[in-house]
Symmetry: C2
Subunit: 256 residues, 2 copies
């Protein structure tokens, strides 16, 4: 039986990035897409408790079924695995995201929400992102690198609790593909304050990315700038083991 | 000058948990609350790009200002620090959350979204959660533990890139407070499928927590069950350093 590959994203089911990724994944297995019915950028791992979820099939042909869902990216993965997948997926893919998910963006990204959710469920999971918001991207130069990742992960799996955050620079040619660490750059000037025509203020979330000079040569953000496709192995266990000794003074033994 | 303490949550600005935490925090500094204007449970680190943010002051007295905001918990922290805080906060607090944020819940929690956002901004940040959704909780037995944490963190700060996820069992008496690791339990049976009266299906996100038997004695979930208040030191750098060697075969050097 062919591998079953589940794909979602945070840009919406009908975007060029997810269409391209689905077309590549079909060479490797049966594909089911369960993705948001509109933009969910910045959804992180948010989940929906306040209202019911639903989904409709928007495309169905041999080896490919596409659902549009009213939930978040993480909702899509939960719904897909629980209700729509004919068997347990062998691989969960997020993307291709329209925009950079390196450095701190991993925390805000709905596409990486898909991937972390897949990883939490014990399924090898990979996110792909392209560092441009253009609607007119030629993903073809990225193709051999995507194939390499899919081939590797389908053959070897991934270490338990580890997923991959793959980012590609906006370029026609790549210097290669590197394992990287999460860059330490952050967003600054994140709020644009506007005067409401009837008085008062409102705000748009915007921001400039401030690349962190503390970044080591292995940081994903820096390697992207150097023309590499970056793979940031990303863990789901966020325990800060290295801080335990320093924080020992916080413990209290009350007895009883 | 007194420390400035910024508080938010994911349950909403007017909930008992955040009111109690604000009352405790006022003993330690000037308090500004910027919290969602309604429930945002499960918001994770989601941020709002598609619509503008706004906030209104709902309470103002010496040493305490409370804003209700239309955004997510993470939006609230960004908006507060950028626009509303008279100086950079010395401490960011999330909670007290109505519900357990141990184990995998750290990934979905909007309260921990507050805390991780504060930590990313370089501010010592702590989330408090209480393992019950009751609206009639006596938080008083938790008080000496909250005071201990606030005293420690205001005096010593926290290691860079590390925040604290503090959870209290639903009890009148605690055996003490322990440093813990993130438990490995997960949610199962997460979707309830319903028949729509006009035909078709819809789904509610529900779930049962499946405590993982692989959990070590140090897991937060297990220590909560034993009657301890748990502190899970939580890191913002999610790089899986330990996986780099195993994944080395993924690298490609194209040259050029």
């Amino acid at each position: 039986m062919k591998p079953l590959i589940l794909i979602s994203n945070d840009d919406g089911y009908d975007m060029p990035g997810i269409n391209y990724l689905a077309s590549v994944a079909r060479q490797w297995g049966d594909v089911i897409v369960v993705a948001p019915d509109g933009p969910r950028s910045g959804a992180s791992l948010s989940v929906t408790f306040q209202r019911p979820l639903s989904a409709r099939i928007v495309r169905q042909e041999t080896g490919l079924t596409v659902y549009a869902c009213n939930g978040t990216p993480t909702d899509c993965v939960k719904l897909a695995i629980s209700q729509f997948c004919p068997r347990r997926p062998d691989l969960v893919l997020g993307g291709i995201n329209h925009g950079d998910n390196s450095a701190v963006n991993v925390h805000y990204s709905g596409t990486m929400g898909v991937v972390i959710e897949g990883c939490l469920k014990g399924i090898p999971s990979v996110g792909f992102s392209y560092c441009s918001h253009s609607m007119d991207i030629d993903f073809q130069p990225m193709r051999p690198y995507i194939d390499k990742v899919l081939e590797y992960v389908l053959a070897h799996g991934l270490p338990q609790g580890v997923c991959l955050n793959v980012n590609a620079p906006d370029a026609n040619h790549y210097r290669g593909m590197k394992l990287c660490s999460m860059g330490s750059g952050l967003w600054k000037n994140e709020l644009a304050c506007m005067d409401h025509p009837r008085g008062g203020k409102y705000y748009w979330l915007v921001g400039e990315f401030d690349a962190e000079t503390r970044d080591t040569p292995s940081s994903d953000f820096r390697c992207l700038k150097e023309g590499y496709i970056t793979i940031t192995p990303t863990k789901t266990d966020v325990t800060a083991w290295e801080a335990m000794n320093e924080l020992a003074g916080l413990q209290i033994e009350a007895g009883g």
